[in-house]
């Protein structure tokens, strides 16, 4: 990055009699770098270097947690053959479902609630804080809390069986066909405050006269929401979509706390990162031996995939935002 700025001759309104001389001193550049250096050092030492190392590490054979010999793409071949291939595909689709769930459900609910809060104005600030409350809790706490609520004969079963709605414990977390949806719902509950906050900020930034005009023209509140508010908060949607994507594909903590590192039952809630964790660090309950080479290969793929998709999404949305403006 060059920090040299070019002094503009004029701003195009009226020519100046004598352009004031502005010598840009290189010293400014150096001073800037000096200020940047500590942060840059931290960044390089703790982020760039390990990243490059693990990317390179994926090309080696690891035994006993040390790189033993160069094997090229062998780890990648092993990752996509036999049982590993099934596990990778299985985990990948869970991440995709998670992403869709969060993107659609969480952001839709978030937008609706934000719009209600926006229309109601300051009198409903209490609800705004209320919705945001779970987001200040650690996902580990949230997971543990919901695990307690959902345990057989726990509070939820107590209520349902007490009211005669069910006769048997629900066991939603132990059932492979419901477990993933429960986890996604818990994640949505945990982070619902975020889209509300972002949309509310977006709505509040709009010129209130727009809504005033719509009201005078007799637009229904539904129409106002979908034809006026939604198109105008598109930049917020972009931000949230990319955030949802990154969070969904890095999903680990909720699964880890609620279903263990094996993403049980029978891999029904396994994600790419829980699979990575098992490969890199083994699993609780002495289930397996680590395979660092495979972990590095999976990490490399995950890194490249996430960077590529996020980058493309941001470019695409930026172009769209320019078009809208």
């Amino acid at each position: 990055m060059s920090t040299d700025t070019v002094a503009t001759e004029s701003d195009g309104t009226e020519p100046m009699p004598k352009p004031r001389k502005r010598t840009v001193r290189r010293a400014h550049g150096l001073a800037g770098w000096a200020f940047l250096l500590p942060a840059l050092l931290v960044y390089v030492i703790f982020l760039v270097y390990p990243m490059i190392r693990s990317l390179l590490g994926s090309l080696w054979d690891w035994r006993g947690m040390r790189a033993q010999s160069f094997t090229g793409l062998d780890n990648f071949t092993r990752l996509f053959s036999g049982q590993n291939a099934d596990l990778v595909t299985n985990a990948f689709w869970h991440n995709v479902l998670w992403f869709i769930g969060v993107l659609v459900v969480q952001n839709m609910i978030g937008l609706l609630l934000a719009y209600i809060l926006f229309v109601r104005g300051a009198r409903w600030t209490f609800f705004q804080n209320w919705f945001f409350f779970p987001a200040i809790l650690s996902p580990v706490l949230v997971g543990a809390l919901w695990r307690l609520i959902l345990t057989p004969d726990g509070p939820l079963d107590g209520v349902l069986m007490g009211m005669g709605i069910t006769s048997e414990p629900l066991t939603l977390l132990g059932n492979g066909s419901t477990a993933l949806w429960v986890l996604i719902a818990v994640d949505i509950w945990n982070w619902i405050g975020l889209p509300i906050l972002v949309f509310l900020a977006g709505l509040n930034a709009l010129n209130p006269e727009i809504f005033e005009a719509a009201r005078l023209d007799g637009a229904s509140s539904g129409r106002t929401l979908f034809q006026i508010a939604v198109p105008l908060v598109t930049p917020s949607v972009t931000t949230l979509a990319v955030l949802s994507f990154i969070n969904s594909f890095n999903q680990f903590d909720i699964v880890y706390v609620m279903q263990g590192v094996q993403g049980g039952p029978n891999f029904a809630t396994d994600t790419l990162v829980t699979f990575f964790y098992r490969l890199a660090f083994g699993a609780q309950g002495s289930v397996g031996i680590t395979d660092v080479g495979l972990a590095m290969a999976l990490g490399a793929i995950l890194f490249i995939f996430m960077t590529a998709v996020s980058g493309m999404a941001l470019r695409f949305f930026n172009k769209r935002a320019e078009m809208i403006q």
Binding site: R25, R26, A27, L30, A31, A34, F35, L37, P38, L41, V42, I45, R63, G64, M65, R66, G82, Q83, R147, L150, T151, P152, D153, D157, E168, P169, L170, T171, L172, L173, G174, N175, G176, M258, Q259, G260, V261, Q262, G263, G264, P265, N266, F267, R278, A280, F281, G282, A283, Q284, G285, S286, V287, G288, I289, T290, D291
Partner: protein
């Protein structure tokens, strides 16, 4: 930082930047403080047994009384993070002086990476251990012993004596008697067998299978499997898996959602009559409910003429990191941990079967366990098939709850287990 300041950079700026960079460098090279208090050498031990902290502290207090020049600092890290923390710390040379080690296959990565020392010369007492115990401490490539074992765990059925007496039940001698007793208990409104493996705790079900399996596979199956003569698809092993399925009507209500902790609490709280698991539960059951009157029996056989066997394994050991800061003192402590004196204290404090048999068990449950130990066979999936990835357990555990719920057939689980270990298993090597 560069010593010469470029001319245009203001002095204050250069000084500031230098300070920042300097403090950064210091913080990066900061090392952990060595813990020497009152002139004695502090030996740090890392363990995953958070629940044993108080007991281990008491055991080492008595050691410190005899060795005033050594202080033992027993530190615990939760099991879930343990392996990760240890491997990272040992590679960075920031490890403890003594480290608790897993056994068999799970021990090998640390040996392969040359992070722990062989103890054959340093702890002579290890030589007198039986071969079955040495198998859990050995490096598979060099045959050296890398740890001082603390317990040989075996498996069986814990039962609540009060509930059994109240329902006029005897300790079942055959599988049919076990089922009849379970039915009686179920009719009486008691949970017959507390069991659960939900939320990632299905290792506990694998442990229960270890107790159940010998009744179907017998004591000879292990050697046959290690010689490559049989695999998991053998009808005897499939029958063992089927046993776990057959008992479903007597497990905790809502079984597929019950986890290990909940199951143990049902037994500890007196809501369940039986719990199938490993002998390490003895201490934790007793400490969580001192009034609980319980016993232990090996899982019953089908034919009353047969002998009931128990699966056993070395739970783990204590080893010496290669760059232990207080190596000599650590070796001293390790030698103490290999004595009969330590074994006796360990057993009295924790109620686990110790790694030596020249001890006098006082605890009645322990007496039951030691009696069951007379007929033991290695815990098949743990001792035999955890040497390399993918392990048999990595297939069995995730599928366990679904298998019991009837969503996956035992035969197909057995086939997948066989297929997984075929990737690395060589007969007569392990």
């Amino acid at each position: 930082m560069n010593a010469t300041r470029p001319r245009h950079v203001p002095r204050r700026l250069a000084v500031g930047a230098a300070l920042v960079a300097g403090s950064l460098a210091v913080s990066l090279t900061a090392c952990s403080p060595g813990g020497d208090t009152d002139g004695s050498t502090t030996v740090t031990i890392w363990s995953w047994r958070t629940e044993d902290q108080a007991a281990m502290d008491r055991i080492f207090d008595s050691f410190e009384n005899e060795h005033p020049e050594i202080t033992v600092d027993f530190q615990t890290i939760p099991d879930a993070e343990y392996q990760n923390r240890v491997s990272t710390a040992l590679q960075g040379g920031q490890g403890p002086d003594i480290v608790q080690l897993k056994a068999y296959g799970e021990l090998q990565p640390l040996i392969d990476a040359a992070l722990i020392e062989p103890l054959d010369e340093l702890v002579p007492e290890l030589d007198s251990l039986p071969d079955t115990t040495k198998a859990g401490l050995r490096g598979i490539e060099d045959g050296n012993l890398y740890g001082v074992p603390y317990s040989i765990v075996n498996t069986g059925v814990f039962y609540n004596k009060e509930i059994f007496t109240a329902n006029a039940l005897e300790v079942p001698q055959t599988y049919d008697e076990l089922i009849a007793a379970s039915q009686t208990l179920l009719d009486a409104g008691v949970i017959p067998i507390a069991a659960g493996g939900a939320n990632g705790t299905s290792w506990a079900l694998e442990m229960a299978l270890a107790a159940v399996a010998p009744s179907q596979i017998g004591p000879e199956f292990y050697d046959e499997a290690m010689a490559g003569k049989v695999d998991f698809t053998d009808p005897r092993y499939v029958a063992a898996l089927q046993r776990m399925v057959d008992m479903l009507p007597y497990y905790s209500p809502g079984f597929q959602g019950v986890d290990y902790t909940t199951a143990t609490q049902q037994f500890i709280g007196g809501d369940a009559a039986m719990f199938i698991g490993g002998s390490y539960e003895n201490g934790s059951f007793a400490s969580q409910n001192p009034d609980l009157d319980f016993g232990f029996f090996p899982y019953p056989v089908d034919d009353p003429a047969d002998t009931a066997y128990t699966s056993s394994f070395v739970d783990g050991s204590y080893g010496l990191p290669v760059d232990a800061e207080h190596r000599d003192a650590a070796i001293e402590v390790l030698n103490f941990m290999a004595t009969a004196e330590f074994a006796q204290m360990f057993m009295d404090e924790l109620g686990w079967p110790p790694a030596r048999d020249d001890v006098e068990p006082k605890n009645p449950v322990l007496l039951d366990m030691m009696a069951a130990m007379k007929n033991q066979t290695p815990y098949l999936t743990h001792v035999g098939f955890k040497w390399q990835s993918p392990t048999a357990s990595s297939v069995l555990q995730p599928a366990f709850v679904d298998m019991i719920m009837g969503k996956v057939a035992p035969q197909s689980v057995a086939e997948q287990m066989t297929e997984a270990v075929q990737e690395w298993f060589t007969p007569n090597v392990y």
